[in-house]
């Protein structure tokens, strides 16, 4: 088994996929860092101050004014109200919701990339793990070895999990290292609030806890990793089922993008919450923003993802061990 994993790792490294992914992440982080920097600059010019309290107070007033407009939808209104209450809570407790620094940039980057960007990067590796063996014809060489088929597949799956862990580590490292040049490398100990509960009446703040940013980040990383593993397993299944890598990627891509779109418009279609792709934004629960559909919680989303994960894994193994290879 060890040998098999070693072999798979070697293939992975030889394909230089990880390097490509690192490059993509690097370029994007540079873009986002610049965008963020610009945003801070214009805000400072507009308000004539860099005091975050003044800026936050101004944001609260602006949101209040948007709420009073009659042209916004009820769902959007509710989300605005929740973020308004949260901002007020931060202000009342004198905690900066976005302490400047590389760790905060990293947090925002993770929160925004959890449902599309990181899964895409994972797909780059996962979707051709098995199907490329077909297209290159090497699958016969692999299966004629005196090793059980499920062991071959398991070694591939373990390699995938390791690669996913590496991708997330790379994303974390690059976002920290690059954004730190502009925003500074300090800020690991900055306080952040978690435990906001979104209820029917609005935001429940009785469970709110104060955390250091590094702790919060580790949790965020854990959630991102979980999502990445689930998405990776799903594309892994497609890679087993569909011989063409491009087709498998296309299917997965469609699912992910539809998730991003659905998130904005499904609040009235309740059964949509059993799709895996609307449950990807796990970090939002930590942050305390309103879920896309009422009644979704962290446990619910994780359970849905776990069911999808288990199903995908079972299908992959059953199909791979039974399939005729010619």
């Amino acid at each position: 088994m060890n040998k098999l994993i070693q072999n798979e790792m070697m293939k992975l490294v030889a394909k230089k996929r990880l390097l490509v992914i690192a490059l993509i992440i690097g370029v994007l982080v540079i873009l986002f860092t610049y965008a963020q920097y610009k945003q801070v600059q214009t805000q400072r010019e507009k308000l004539g101050t860099s005091d975050w309290r003044t800026i936050l107070q101004q944001q609260i007033v602006d949101t209040t004014n948007r709420l009073s407009s009659s042209r916004i939808s009820d769902e959007w209104k509710k989300q605005l109200q929740i973020s308004l209450q949260q901002q007020q809570y931060y202000l009342d407790h004198d905690i900066n919701p976005a302490e400047p620094g590389a760790p905060t940039f990293m947090r925002i980057f993770l929160e925004n990339s959890i449902d599309l960007f990181i899964p895409l990067m994972v797909m780059v590796i996962a979707s051709d793990l098995v199907s490329s063996e077909h297209s290159l014809g090497t699958v016969k060489l692999l299966l004629t070895r005196p090793v059980k088929r499920w062991k071959v597949l398991l070694s591939k799956y373990i390699t995938l999990c390791l690669a996913v862990s590496l991708i997330i580590a790379i994303a974390g490292f690059l976002s920290y290292a690059i954004s730190g040049v502009v925003f500074g490398y300090k800020g690991w100990g900055a306080p952040i609030l978690t435990g906001f509960n979104v209820t029917d009446e609005g935001l429940n703040t009785s469970q709110v806890k104060l955390l250091s940013l590094w702790k919060f980040l580790l949790m965020d990383f854990g959630l991102v990793w979980f999502v990445a593993i689930v998405v990776g397993t799903l594309s892994f299944m497609l890679s087993v089922l569909i011989r063409s890598t491009a087709a498998g990627m296309g299917v997965m891509l469609a699912a992910l993008i539809s998730g991003a779109i659905l998130n904005n418009m499904i609040s009235s279609w309740e059964s949509a919450k059993y799709f895996f792709m609307v449950n990807l934004r796990l970090t939002d629960y930590m942050k305390g923003t309103a879920p896309p559909i009422e009644g979704m919680t962290l446990a619910f989303s994780m359970l849905v993802l776990l069911v999808w994960w288990l199903a995908a894994l079972c299908v992959s193994f059953i199909v791979f061990t039974k399939k005729d290879v010619y």
């Binding site: 994993i5 070693q6 790792m9 070697m10 490294v13 030889a14 308000l47 004539g48 101050t49 005091d51 309290r53 003044t54 936050l56 107070q57 101004q58 007033v61 209040t64 004014n65 009073s68 407009s69 202000l91 009342d92 407790h93 004198d94 905690i95 999990c161 390791l162 690669a163 862990s165 590496l166 997330i168 580590a169 609030l193 978690t194 435990g195 469970q207 709110v208 806890k209 104060l210 955390l211 702790k215 580790l218 949790m219 965020d220 990383f221 854990g222 959630l223 991102v224 990793w225 979980f226 629960y285 930590m286 962290l298 446990a299 994780m302």
Partner: protein, 258 residues
């Protein structure tokens, strides 16, 4: 590719795999852990006086402060700031806390917020518009302005206004406060004359309350809109338009001293 490199990458990957798994477990545990050990405390902010050289303007109040109806979106506050910027070389910092539809009881709550008080402390000039929504109540005031209700509403409003001024003076005793009075947007309508009477009375009482406090200046706008009111009103026939805001801004600008 040497075997050692592969081994190193594998070990690194296993390490991160375990680390992220631990993070995931911790996240779930934290999220569902019952009571927080330490609830965040409300802290009193130590005020740092920044922007020493600059002029800090804080605008409080309703949609007039917000600039509703102005196509440029600036409102009289924005026009005024532009004017100040032209006249002085000092940097101007504006905090506009105006909220559409705000009534005096809501403003009373707003000025009790800690951060708003901190903003007030820093201010060199405070601009205020309030009362329009108390009196007109989105058109409701048009129907029952003759009844005795007005007296009760006005009494409540004057008490709130007094409280607001007390709060402002408590936190800031040096800033000039400009309190913008009401105009009559309905003067060309059927009962415009009666309405004007109510508003004049309202403005008079507001000015009386302002006069009881030092450095609070009541700025009348009633006369500005008295002739050709529709030239200065936005299409909702209630809020001023760009020209109307310009008039108010000019009037306040003529009162500024520094």
């Amino acid at each position: 590719m040497s075997k050692n490199v592969i081994r190193f990458i594998t070990i690194l990957a296993v390490f991160f795999c375990l680390l992220w798994a631990a993070g995931l477990g911790w996240a779930v545990k934290e999220y569902y852990a019952g009571k927080p050990d330490q609830a965040p405390q409300r802290t009193k902010v130590v005020t740092k006086t920044e922007n020493q050289k600059g002029l800090t303007i804080v605008a409080l109040g309703d949609s007039l402060t917000r600039g509703t109806g102005d196509e440029t979106g600036k409102g009289y506050v924005g026009d005024l700031v532009d004017e100040i910027k032209q006249k002085t070389k000092r940097p101007v910092q504006l905090t506009n806390l105006g909220i559409n539809g705000q009534r005096s009881d809501q403003l009373k709550k707003q000025v009790q917020q800690m951060e708003v008080q901190r903003q007030l402390e820093k201010a060199d000039v405070i601009l205020l518009t309030i009362g329009g929504n108390d009196l007109f109540r989105g058109g409701q005031g048009l129907i029952d302005f003759q009844s005795g209700d007005i007296a009760a509403i006005e009494k409540k409003y004057l008490n709130n206004l007094k409280f607001i001024f007390q709060q402002i003076r408590k936190h800031n005793d040096h800033a000039n406060v400009f309190f913008i009075g009401l105009y009559n947007p309905f003067s060309e309508m059927d009962q415009g004359k009666e309405m004007s009477k109510v508003i004049r009375h309202w403005n008079y009482d507001s000015a009386e309350v302002s006069a009881a406090f030092p450095k609070i200046v009541f700025v009348p706008t009633f006369d500005l809109f008295e002739l050709k009111v529709n030239d200065y009103l936005y299409s909702d026939k209630f809020h001023p338009n760009t020209k109307g805001y310009r008039l108010i801004a000019e009037r306040v600008a003529s009162l500024l001293t520094w």
